[in-house]
Amino acid sequence: MRGSLWQLGQSIIRRLSEADKKAVARRYFASEADLKKTVLYDFHVAHGGKMVPFAGWSMPIQYKDSIMDSTVNCRENGGMFDVSHMCGLSLKGKDSVSFLEKLVIADVAGLAPGTGTLTVFTNEKGGAIDDSVITKVKDDHIYLVVNAGCRDKDLAHIEEHMKAFKAKGGDVSWHIHDERSLLALQGPLAAPVLQHLTKDDLSKLYFGEFRILDINGATCFLTRTGYTGEDGFEISVPSENALDLAKAILEKSEGKVRLTGLGARDSLRLEAGLCLYGNDMEQHISPVEAGLTWAIGKRRRAEGGFLGAEVILKQLAEGPSIRRVGFTSTGPPPRSHSEIQDEKGNNIGEITSGGFSPCLKKNIAMGYVKSGLHKAGTKAKILVRGKAYDGVVTKMPFVPTKYYKPS
């Protein structure tokens, strides 16, 4: 039995064979007491949150609304997500930028202060260690957020390289923002609702931009970004102020912005064509294969200088052998590891994420196929429980993104 995000509260254990049961008990129950809770845990439970283990945290997978309704509401009104399990980190020191550039594909030096981008931490083979949204706060301060499930390996990786960098005289240090919580506010009501809680003019803060400002009486790090394809924000708030802020957001929206769990978050990001690290991107997948070539800064393509640059630059020159693409399909929703075949039945790749789109009311998926078979409109077969269903390569995002950009 695979580990899984989806916990329906039903006794899965009951259905496992005795042998599996013992194995599961050993693997999981021993650590249950160790699950971490965000400062909003009681708030989630009070709002009907169904808490499940996720990346070592007890997190709400959904609230009273179904995942379908919750997903649609985020796009029609707004959703608020507790993403405090994610790891916020600041790099400080005059060499922060040159240090980070050794580890990521972004042109960090080229970012204007107060702006950021999605980037990828690469390994020596050009594979992805994690994806991350990084922000250049100032020339000597980078703020970034990494995935909860990658926290330990990311921090170990950064620390190892930081030691070597400092040994050579580089000026960089880090601060892990465990004193802060992270709320994502997404959807068309995100900006109007948040505007009620701050004096700063949010109409001047565009997609990818960052500001340190007062929100609801607390000093917050605000990034106009998200993981849904909608306009919205991620708000890093001192943990002692997180509950008040969460309540204020719900109150100011008059109930239209709803608490939204990991289930809808997954549907939303899939509809937006965004990668989920661990599924759609892994250690052996390069940013080029993952379709994130756009995130490799021009200067970085010319100069390299990041881990695995040789492999990645070669792929850029010659084209990758596999590529991440979107699919729509008939039949049951494809899931991770569903085989993809060409029309003659030859294996051409594998699905990495898939599901039923609550907004489009049809199956959507993403996966990797051999180059040449990646063009939109290419027909394929997707195998689910041994049966082949019709699929077609479809341009992503599946649902148009609505990022707030200067007109």
Partner: protein, 163 residues
């Protein structure tokens, strides 16, 4: 209905627990599901209605409630056979893939083809419009080993309470 949670998740990739916490996961009591008299129930949350020569099989209200919106139903071909406790189809919701097991053995005489176009019938009408297959029972005594409505109600309550 053996819930096989689908693998397309971070959790899977990150090798995270597939077991629910014993603490207040599902803290809300979910015992509002309908259980009908006259039907027999399996521990894997399927129901059987035995009338004359034919037994109708579907998944329970409790099961559909936990699954959420059903988006696809996989059915067998009529004419095939099913075995007690073995899977004969699958139900896909937004959040999970579930195998559906047959509570009894027998020959499939009819399948509910309406579910192909309207899988949501499983949610809106689990005991009527959402039936899945009709079977000619091979061994009617198998029905006796299944739970009655009271037993099944208690079974669901206990299952929910254990989480």
């Amino acid at each position: 209905m053996a819930l096989r949670m689908w693998a397309s998740t971070t959790a899977n990739a990150l090798k995270i627990s597939c077991a629910t916490t014993k603490a207040p996961v599902f803290s809300l009591s979910r015992c509002f599901s309908t259980v009908l008299d006259g039907l027999k129930y399996a521990e894997s949350h399927e129901w059987v209605k035995h009338e004359g020569p034919v037994a109708t099989i579907g998944i329970t209200d409790h099961a559909q409630d936990h699954l959420g919106e059903v988006v696809f139903v996989e059915l067998p071909e009529p004419g095939g056979s099913v075995s007690k406790g073995k899977g004969f189809g699958a139900v896909e919701s937004v959040k999970a893939t579930s195998d559906v097991n047959s509570p009894i053995s027998g020959e499939i005489v009819e399948v509910n083809s309406k579910l192909t176009e309207t899988p949501g019938l499983i949610n809106s009408s689990p005991y009527e419009g959402g039936w899945m297959i009709k079977v000619k029972p091979g061994s009617p005594s198998e029905l006796e080993s299944l739970m009655g409505p009271k037993e099944y109600t208690k079974f669901c309550e206990e299952e929910d309470a254990s989480h």
